[in-house]
Every structure is written in structure tokens, then in C-alpha cells.
Amino acid sequence: MSRDDLRSNLVSSISLAAEAGTFLEYALANRSTWAFAAGHLAYLAGQSGRISQELQQSAPTAALEPVLIQSRTQVNALSSELSIAQQALADPQKLSASHDRIMKIRTALQQAESSL
């Protein structure tokens, strides 16, 4: 995996985390239906899973390995968090906590990208 490919995956992951965060704020304001929220979060989790798979299958150069490991960890965490959020749709407190954790994942992904 080249530096550009890794950066592209990180940009997609950061976008996905931001997308999830924006939507959770919308859902927390009670503006989404349950079916839409559950479905949308599942699609985002699917997308996150695809990026995670791409990162798992990639073989980086030695210089890129630390960033790749960090990226894999954060993208896996994002996938898990999106699944947790799906289960927490009926509980605003849990959903809010999930939103905060997703924002932290986003910050960590941004740091990984800037270190490239």
C-alpha cells in the first residue's frame, strides 16, 4: 500500500466518522425515524467494514507500518461503535456517549493522517 492509498483510506474513514457524528446529532434531536436511523447506521458500518478489510489486506512499507496499525485500530473501533450506536437508538444517553466516542475516533484518525 502506497502513502497515497493509505491517505485516501484515512480520508474516507475521517469522512465516515464525521458522517456518523453528524447523523447521530440529527438522531439525538429526535429528527430521524427509527427505521432510517438503524438502516443508515448499518450502511455506514458496512462502509467502515470495507475500509477496515482494505487496511487489513494491505502490506505497507516499514515507514508506513506504525500509521497503518494506528489506522486499523481506529477503523475497527469505528465499526464497533457504529454497531453499538445501532443498538442504542432507544437510549439517548448511550447514543450520546457513542457520538462522543466516534468524535474521539475521528480526532485520532485525523492525527494519523497528519502524521503521513
Partner: protein, 411 residues
């Protein structure tokens, strides 16, 4: 009232044509990446489709020739068959993507399993096409597509900077890196292509013959083509604005259809979200029907076989079998698990690559006084037609290289 209902052919053609699955996601992505700076591509695409839609409607009325009949006459048998196969492959891929999109929307509305919904929705769509007359199909899908206006209302409520939006009419972009320039070009070509997808003119010209338009309807033809396209264009601009206002500041590149739908109701609550879902559903279902019927129109018109949605199926057996078969194969393709957005990305770029083969014959026949008599193009219309044909050809040549170089527009 009859005149108003007559507009529904233009509305359904344009909404199903360029506010389909691909355009909805593609345009919000363009707004998310480049703000308003690709507005010019929407304007260019709108003028181009109005010019060509009017021409093919006029040919249908005056020469009683639908698009694929003139494709064969102008391009000859060999190149004609290449165009027919490519166009119907494009219809198939697009139809599969749209069916996938319909299943996604029903899943977002009900929470039911997506594959079950995919099968149920395809069967329902087939029943509607089988049972309803052409006019009722266009009225139902054209008018229910108007629910998409919620996207335009959301865009206005979010207060776009109108002066910045106006600057987007000028095609100037200063890329920070070469890759940015390529991405910009990819999205410009993609937006332009999505607005001119071949099946729009195939459907529109066949629809004019289905509705038995006469020479006295020619003034209406221009109105129908313009009104439908302007409405579709307005909604496309709204999608660009929403991408620029909601996604760009948050560094979001919308990767799934549901993100592009929820942004259509972003300033509002649940009811607006449901309206956005139904509006999108109507447009995507309209696109699925357009591609399905276009496939059957193309084949029968090319080989001069009996065709017509309003004919009893027994009178047009090949036509009926073709659209039913196309829908069934598209369902099979969608059931393989291929993602609708991947399919639609391919169809937009592939559609651009073969576009000159559809638009050149239309221009040639519309300008031919031997065929069109006093209704042939004026010099002005021919010059505009040539101008857009040159742009279409340049974009066609650039489409596939841009897709490869940008990994299908991945930022």
C-alpha cells in the same frame, strides 16, 4: 388541465433521468468536495438536454421516427448494433442500480430485509408497468417525484451564499494538487453525463409517439422538454448546495445513498425525512422504469418490430418480453450483492463514453430538411447542437481515463 398533465412526460423523463440514484449521490459528493464551483456543469448539462430533448421530440412528431430508428439509419447496421448493445447494457446496469436503490429506500422506510424488498419492489414495479397505460405511469412517477422539492426547500432554508453560488457559473478552479484537478474534471464529466443519460432521449422520443403527438403539439414539445429539465436542474442545484453547506465544512464525502437522502431533510424533522425518502423513491423508481422500457423501445425500434406500452402485450410480444426480461436480469444482477453506487458509477462513465453515438444521429436528422421539411433545425439550433456535440465528444474521450486516474472519484 390536459396541458398541465402533458408536462408529466417531461417531468418524469427529467426526474428519472437526471435526479436518479447516481445524480443524487454524485452531486452531493461534488458539493462536498468543491462547493458551488461545479454549478456551471449543471447549467451546461441542462441547456444541452433541453436542446436535444426538444430535437428528438420534434423528430418523433414530424418524421414519426423514434431515436433508435434514426440511429440505424444514420450509423448503419454495424455501428448501429454496437450502439444498440452498448445502450441496452447501460440500461441494464442502470436499472440494476436503481432497483438496488429502491430496496435501500424501502429498507430505510420499513426496516425489512433488503433482499426481500428488492424482489417485492421489482415485482410491484413490473405489475405497475404491465397494468398501467403509458400516460398513467408518467403521471404517477412524474408527479410523485415532485416530493423531491423538499431538497430545494432545505437548500434555501440553510441560507446559501447566493453570490458565491453565482460564481460557480464560471468554470474556473485552481487545484491545490494535480489530483484535485483530475477529481474536479471527473466530477464535471460525471455531472454532465448524468444529466444527458441516453435513456432520457430514448424514453422521451418514444413517449411522444406513445402519446400520439401531432405537429400542433410542437410548441408544447419545447415547453415539456424545458419545464421538466429545468425542474430536474433546480433539484440538482439543490443537491449541490446541500453538499456544499452541510458536508464541505465537516469534511464529509457522502459514501452511501442514505447520507444524501438525510441531507435533504437536514433542517427539518421526521416528516420531511419521510417526504425526502418518498420523493427519492419516486425518482429512482421512475429511472428504473425508464431504463427498462428504453431497453425494449431500443431493440424494437432498431429492428422495426411492433412496440408500444399502450398496445396489448399480445400485439407487441417481443417488446413486452424484452422489458420483462431486462427487469428480471437487472433483478438478478442486483441480487448478486453488487453495490448500487458502484453500478451507477460505472453506468454514468460508460454512458458518457458512448454518448456521441446517440446524440449525433439526433442532430443530423433534426437538421435535415429532406426529413424534417419546414420543421428542420434553424441555423442557430444546429450551431448550439454542434457546440454541445463537441463537448459531449470531448467528455466521452476523457470519461474512462478520468475514472481510472481518480479511482472512480475517490478523494
Amino acid at each position: 388541465m390536459k396541458r398541465l398533465l402533458g408536462l408529466t412526460l417531461g417531468i418524469m423523463t427529467a426526474l428519472g433521468g437526471f435526479v436518479d440514484l447516481g445524480q443524487i449521490v454524485f452531486t452531493t459528493q461534488a458539493g462536498a468536495l468543491f462547493g458551488y464551483s461545479l454549478l456551471w456543469a449543471i447549467v451546461l448539462g441542462t441547456i444541452a438536454i433541453i436542446v436535444y430533448m426538444e430535437m428528438c421530440g420534434r423528430i418523433a412528431v414530424v418524421a414519426h421516427e423514434p431515436v433508435f430508428s434514426i440511429v440505424r439509419t444514420c450509423l448503419g447496421l454495424r455501428l448501429g448494433i454496437v450502439t444498440l448493445v452498448a445502450s441496452n447494457l447501460l440500461n441494464l446496469i442502470t436499472c440494476a442500480a436503481e432497483l438496488g436503490g429502491i430496496a435501500i429506500i424501502f429498507h430505510l422506510l420499513t426496516g425489512w430485509p433488503e433482499k426481500l424488498l428488492l424482489v417485492l419492489a421489482t415485482v410491484a414495479l413490473a405489475a405497475v408497468v404491465f397494468l398501467c397505460r403509458f400516460q398513467w405511469i408518467e403521471r404517477v412517477f412524474g408527479l410523485s417525484g415532485l416530493l423531491m422539492i423538499v431538497f430545494a426547500v432545505s437548500a434555501v432554508v440553510l441560507h446559501p451564499q447566493w453570490n458565491q453560488l453565482a460564481q460557480g457559473l464560471v468554470p474556473i478552479f485552481r487545484p491545490s494538487a494535480p489530483r484535485q484537478g483530475l477529481l474536479y474534471a471527473f466530477f464535471a464529466v460525471g455531472i454532465f453525463s448524468a444529466m444527458l443519460m441516453e435513456y432520457e432521449v430514448h424514453f422521451y422520443s418514444s413517449g411522444a409517439i406513445e402519446e400520439d403527438w401531432k405537429a400542433k403539439d410542437l410548441a408544447e414539445n419545447f415547453m415539456v422538454a424545458s419545464f421538466g429539465s429545468l425542474l430536474g436542474s433546480l433539484l440538482t442545484v439543490a443537491l449541490l448546495i446541500l453538499g456544499a453547506l452541510v458536508f464541505l465544512p465537516r469534511h464529509i464525502f457522502p459514501a452511501v445513498l442514505s447520507t444524501s437522502i438525510f441531507v435533504g431533510a437536514y433542517p427539518f424533522a421526521q416528516k420531511a425525512l419521510i417526504i425526502a425518502l418518498f420523493g427519492t423513491l419516486a425518482c429512482i423508481a421512475g429511472a428504473a422504469i425508464e431504463t427498462t422500457l428504453s431497453g425494449a423501445y431500443n431493440l424494437c425500434q432498431f429492428f422495426n418490430w411492433t412496440w408500444g406500452k399502450n398496445l396489448p402485450p399480445r400485439s407487441a410480444p417481443i417488446y413486452t418480453a424484452t422489458w420483462v426480461g431486462l427487469l428480471a436480469i437487472a433483478l438478478g444482477l442486483a441480487l448478486t450483492g453488487l453495490r448500487p453506487l458502484e453500478l451507477v458509477n460505472i453506468s454514468i462513465i460508460f454512458g458518457m463514453a458512448i454518448m456521441p453515438l446517440t446524440y449525433y444521429p439526433i442532430l443530423r436528422v433534426a437538421a435535415d430538411k429532406n426529413v424534417m421539411g419546414k420543421h428542420a433545425n434553424s441555423k442557430f439550433v444546429t450551431i448550439i447542437g454542434i457546440f454541445f456535440l463537441v463537448i459531449i465528444t470531448v467528455a466521452a474521450l476523457a470519461a474512462i481515463p478520468l475514472m481510472i486516474l481518480t479511482h472512480s472519484g475517490r478523494p
